[in-house]
């Protein structure tokens, strides 16, 4: 399981940020070719991102690119220039409305991967759901290809499509967030929340992050590096949670060694889901190497 508490957007036309974004230690990076880049700069940004990818220095971040929408003339060029380098972990597709869009993207990726001699299917898809249709079809989208690894409700575009706007309380997104979580879990993909636009409002960010964490989200998109430590802090388990998780893992290990089915910790039954959640807690606390919990 890979942590995706924070995925930081980096403008595709800003070499300074593209080169140094990873220094802020987000869990993932989104090199942006879409909204951050004006139409006349699309080609230049694509070349820039290609060179940055070739350089390949991103710390331990998951590296993704937000490509241009499948309703534009750029998205295929974006993929053709960047995917063959073999450095991208995934692509973030904007305005995904239905399963057909995912399938179209999946086919294009397969073709490019295959031509480049890369393992077909290695490039994951992160779906941005920025329309009412997209939200309505979340489960179908999330299950349209095994490449889909996360769904992300949009912010501004989505609220516009809903004929409302973003409020500090986030009332307009509340039901949507709940729906996305259910669909994502049902489909077995991550649910990542939209960006928090007010970059100097640390308290507002903390509140919203606590809320979406409680709903079950795995993380948030990030538009400013200063937001990263705040989100990580919210997602980092408390010492009490860690202590309990460690107890559960130890008890489960002991039970397995002694051939027992279930054991009790602090008067509560410890079964498989509880162990899974405990492992997850330790991963979030940075106490477990990624992948270690697959055992």
């Amino acid at each position: 399981m890979r942590l995706r508490r924070t995925m930081l957007y980096l403008p595709g036309n800003n070499p300074n940020m593209l080169l140094r974004g990873h220094l802020f230690n987000p869990d993932g990076l989104v090199l942006d070719l879409e909204d951050a880049v004006a139409v006349r700069e699309k080609d230049a940004a694509r070349i820039l991102i290609r060179d940055v990818l070739k350089r390949g220095e991103f710390g331990s971040c998951e590296v993704t690119v937000r490509i241009n929408g499948l309703d534009t003339e750029y998205w295929r060029k974006d993929l053709e220039a960047l995917v063959p380098l073999g450095r991208l972990d995934g692509v973030r597709a904007p305005k995904v409305d239905d399963a057909a869009t995912v399938k179209q993207l999946d086919e294009a990726l397969s073709e490019i991967e295959s031509k480049a001699g890369l393992e077909v299917g290695r490039t994951k898809i992160f779906c941005l759901l920025e329309t009412a249709r997209g939200i309505f079809n979340t489960y179908d989208i999330a299950t349209a290809s095994p490449r889909v690894t996360a769904v992300i409700p949009g912010g501004e575009d989505l609220t516009a499509d809903l004929r409302t706007n973003r409020s500090p309380e986030g009332t307009e997104l509340e039901g949507i967030r709940r729906n996305v979580i259910v669909a994502a879990r049902a489909a077995g993909v991550d649910a990542l929340d939209t960006v928090f636009p007010r970059i100097t409002d640390d308290e507002g960010l903390r509140k919203e992050t606590s809320f979406i964490k409680q709903l079950g989200f795995d993380g948030k998109s990030v538009i400013h590096p200063n937001q990263i430590p705040i989100i990580h802090e919210v997602f980092t388990p408390t010492e009490k949670e860690i202590e309990r998780a460690q107890k559960i893992i130890a008890a489960a290990k002991e039970a397995a060694e002694r051939g027992l089915g279930a054991v009790q910790v602090d008067g509560r039954m410890v079964d498989a889901p509880v162990v899974k959640r405990a492992l997850f807690t330790l991963t979030r606390a940075g106490l477990l190497e990624e992948g270690q919990d697959n055992a």
Partner: protein, 516 residues
Amino acid sequence: MPKNILGREIPEFIEGYGKTLPFMGEHARKPEGNRAGPKLRSTFNDRTSKVVPDLKAAIAASGLKSGMTVSFHHHLRNGDFVVNAVIDACSEMGIRDLTLFPTALFGVHKKLIEHIKSGVIRRIMGSVNGPIGQMVSEGGMEVPVVLRSHGGRPRAVVSGDVRIDVAFVAAPTADAYGNLCGSQGKSACGSLGYAFTDAMFADCVVAVTDNLVPFPAAPVSMPQFHVDIVTVLDSIGDPAGIVSGTTRITRDPLRLLISKYASRLIEASPYFKEGISFQTGAGGISLAVTAFMKEAMKKREIRGSFGLGGITGYFVDLLKEGYVEKLMDVQSFDLEAVKSIAENPNHIEISADWYANPWNAGAVVNMLDVVILGATEMDRDFNVNVNTEADGALLHGIGGHQDTAAGAKLTIISQPLLRGRIPCVVDQVYSVTTPGEVVDALVTEYGVTINPRRKDLVDACQAAGNVPLVTMDELVARAHEMCGPTDPVETEDRIIGIIEWRDGTVIDVVKQLKKK
């Protein structure tokens, strides 16, 4: 050509400067003889007011003549009206060939260029910034400028290397008998720290004020027995340029990241304990380091003994909240600091001599645990350049850089690895301001780079476990890779600037830029 201990070529004699003493190491030069002193003068009860009608009358009364040395202090910073007004008046009075001896010059003083060109000013001993720096670098002055640190300057005065004929003191408040105060009046600037040595050692002291109060003024920061003449201007400065509003902590993520690493380094060091003293300045990174340190001090229940240097409102808050016991203030940066120095007895006004002079019985910098400083570039030997830019032009003064670096137990340079495409680490700095022997660490966004002679700090950081360490070689290699090679600066042979170490030896010289 003879070389100093850092391998810099220093001619034995420099036209317009004289015989040189090459830099031989931090404490190598020992002072000899006695302190110099100003001319004796007497004042009796037949003279109870020192006020003269205007600046020209003050200049005339001071006995200032062509070829003399005039000194100024920079507490009015970019709001200062006094330097320009005095030199304008000198020009109108036909005085020429002056040596200007300011503690620092600012953008507002670019007007001096016309007086340099016309010969009113023949020589500058002090930092030359912005347009004046550019002009000097291109060979626009006949006599080389001499750059000294905030401690090196009073050393030069008290040792007699520099004799001040007339010191002009911008005084936000004065009485008719010459008691001066910086923390009151419409042009209040707080501490008058840099002016003290000048007032004590100049042959004549002229106070320029825009707030004349009845005798005796109170509080007094500079007493009447140093001051010969008082004159009044409508305004000595623009308050907006004298003090800034509330100093804010940077939100630039890169600078915050660097600040975080710097504060972790401090926390990991042996100096982070009860009674820690520090100087962090007013720069974006410095202030953020202070904020992170405050959090750490809170967490570990540590209280500091004193904060030093230029003081900001942020430091004043630390004093009020009990994170430091005292503030020692040579320059007050903002309104909060000005207010505090006027009201709080634990906020102490200190002179530049007291602050940083290596040739007295003990400067405050010697009591400093930690200092955070900036740089334009640093080299593999940890030598630091703060005076010249990548293009070889003189653009910044030394400030307290040398003094605090030499005095503090932990000297940290914090700087982004790149400014645009210009790297801050290089194989060899273009000019040396501060030698690597007094610099302990560099902090960039890539982590903390520790001077190998501080193995104890490397160990401390490794033990702390949260300080990313990067070697200087790795950092230089990374800078090379990201920026590619830079063209060397092309210069003439002529020396246009001399950088003195705080003891008066020459640590480096700066040459005239070749015309492009």
